[in-house]
């Protein structure tokens, strides 16, 4: 099973640093800058795991996830939301929207690593 991860984040500097950290852990990372490209990249690469920002231009994380879920026929995909929103209700909203995990920015990379391990092992 490939350990390919799709990273979706519109903020360029943040995308670059998350990618670098994940690659240092030996993960293969495909990165795109919005939800629309995430749907295309999902079809092309079929990753096991997606790490996705919520507020993005063109298509946000919620819309992107619901389209990607339609394409995930065997139900193997796991998706972690990453957001700078801090309202307590946002975690609940993510859960209802079908995200498997939730991480707030600024990212605690130990926490992100644990989440990734948990979902890739599942």
């Amino acid at each position: 099973m490939t350990q390919k991860i799709l990273l979706v984040e519109d903020h360029e500097a943040n995308r670059a640093i998350i990618k670098r950290r994940l690659e240092r852990r030996g993960l293969e990372v495909v990165d795109v800058e919005d939800g629309r490209r995430a749907v295309e990249a999902y079809e092309l690469h079929k990753p096991r795991l997606i790490i996705m920002d919520l507020s993005m231009p063109n298509m946000g994380g919620f819309d992107a996830l619901s389209r990607i879920r339609e394409l995930d026929l065997d139900g193997q995909l796991r998706c972690i939301a990453v957001t700078a929103h801090s309202l307590p209700s946002i975690a609940e909203r993510c859960k209802q929207a079908g995200f498997d995990g939730f991480i707030t920015k600024p990212i605690d990379f130990t926490q992100l690593s644990d989440e990734i391990d948990r979902h890739l092992a599942a």
Binding site: N14, R21, K105
Partner: protein
């Protein structure tokens, strides 16, 4: 329309026999004018209430957006500074490692301030949510200890935990309780140099309810008697020089007090200038059950009343 006829009639009783046609017309005009003025006033008042509500919602939306906007660049600052620290450590460049860590720490501090402002704004709007669940008490203490030790060490303080409870599981809002404890420990560390910070945890029952008492004591500068109550008030620190010398929003302790109340408990302080301070935080160990018990008799009472009324 009833009011229009009532007003001149009652006036007519007061001015017996003196009401000419013209006088009545004047009084009706005055009465109509007064009613219109009241109606207009009510409309203005309602509009003001609506405007205030809209403004409040706009303000709350603005704060949420600002918090998001502030956290996004902070994500870059912290992540890249950590990256610099990482490569400095690999290359054995001590000074660069130190400098990069200063950036990380300052950014974490800034993040803490932003969170405090957000909490404060949520409290103001009644949107401060408490999410209780049952969890292993030891895990909470491990997490607190991991953050508290380096925090205390910054000013050369020793940190110790004395756990006198055998409690295994607790039902409360873990994140909020941890936030309170870290806030108290962070305060203690800020006002103490080369001293000792202690966290003591013990069982304490209050009015048939089981609870835990967390005492955070320090050997720091202490608090003047007249400042003791004020420090729990919003925007307040012991005095202005504290803000200049020690920084902070002045919101931390007011947030701790709010959380303590929401966790079914309270927070208080004892202190002696030059000797040290001791903050005591008491919370319920079974928040959801107690809340249910408190809520249920009221519902029961209401149904009884309704039954009586029927």
């Amino acid at each position: 329309m009833g009011a229009l006829t009532l007003v001149p009639l009652s006036m007519g009783v007061d001015f017996t026999g003196t009401l000419s046609g013209a006088g009545l017309a004047v009084e009706v005009t005055v009465a109509v004018g007064a009613i219109l003025a009241i109606v207009a006033f009510q409309a203005v008042a309602q509009e003001r209430v609506n405007a205030a509500r809209r403004e409040n919602e706009a303000k709350s939306q603005f704060l949420a957006t600002m918090s998001h906007e502030l956290r996004t660049p902070l994500t870059s600052i912290i992540a890249y500074a950590e990256e610099l620290a990482f490569s400095a450590e690999e290359g054995g460049r001590e000074r660069d490692l130190h400098d990069a860590n200063v950036i990380v720490e300052a950014s974490q501090h800034l993040l803490g301030l932003i969170s405090e402002l957000m909490d404060f704004s949520k409290i103001q709007e009644g949107k401060f949510e408490i999410e209780a669940r049952t969890f292993q008490f030891a895990k909470l203490i491990d997490k607190v200890s991991a953050v508290a030790r380096p925090l205390a060490a910054r000013n050369g303080n020793a940190f110790s935990i004395e756990c006198c409870t055998k409690l295994e599981e607790i039902d409360t809002d873990e994140a909020r309780l941890r936030q309170c404890l870290l806030n108290l420990i962070s305060n203690a560390s800020k006002f103490t140099h080369d001293g000792t910070i202690r966290l003591r945890i013990s069982d304490e029952w209050r009015a048939d309810h089981r609870g835990l008492l967390f005492e955070v004591s320090d050997t720091g500068i202490g608090i003047e008697k007249e400042q003791m109550e004020r420090i729990f008030e919003r925007f307040r620190q012991a005095d202005e020089t504290v803000t200049r010398r020690y920084g902070g929003t002045g919101l931390g302790l007011s947030i701790v007090r709010e959380i303590a109340a929401r966790l079914g408990g309270d927070v208080s302080v004892k202190s002696e200038v030059g000797v040290g301070s001791c903050f005591s935080l008491w919370v319920l160990t079974d928040l959801r059950r107690i809340e249910r018990e408190v809520m249920e008799p009221q519902t029961q009472l209401k149904t009884n009343k309704e039954r009586a009324a029927a």
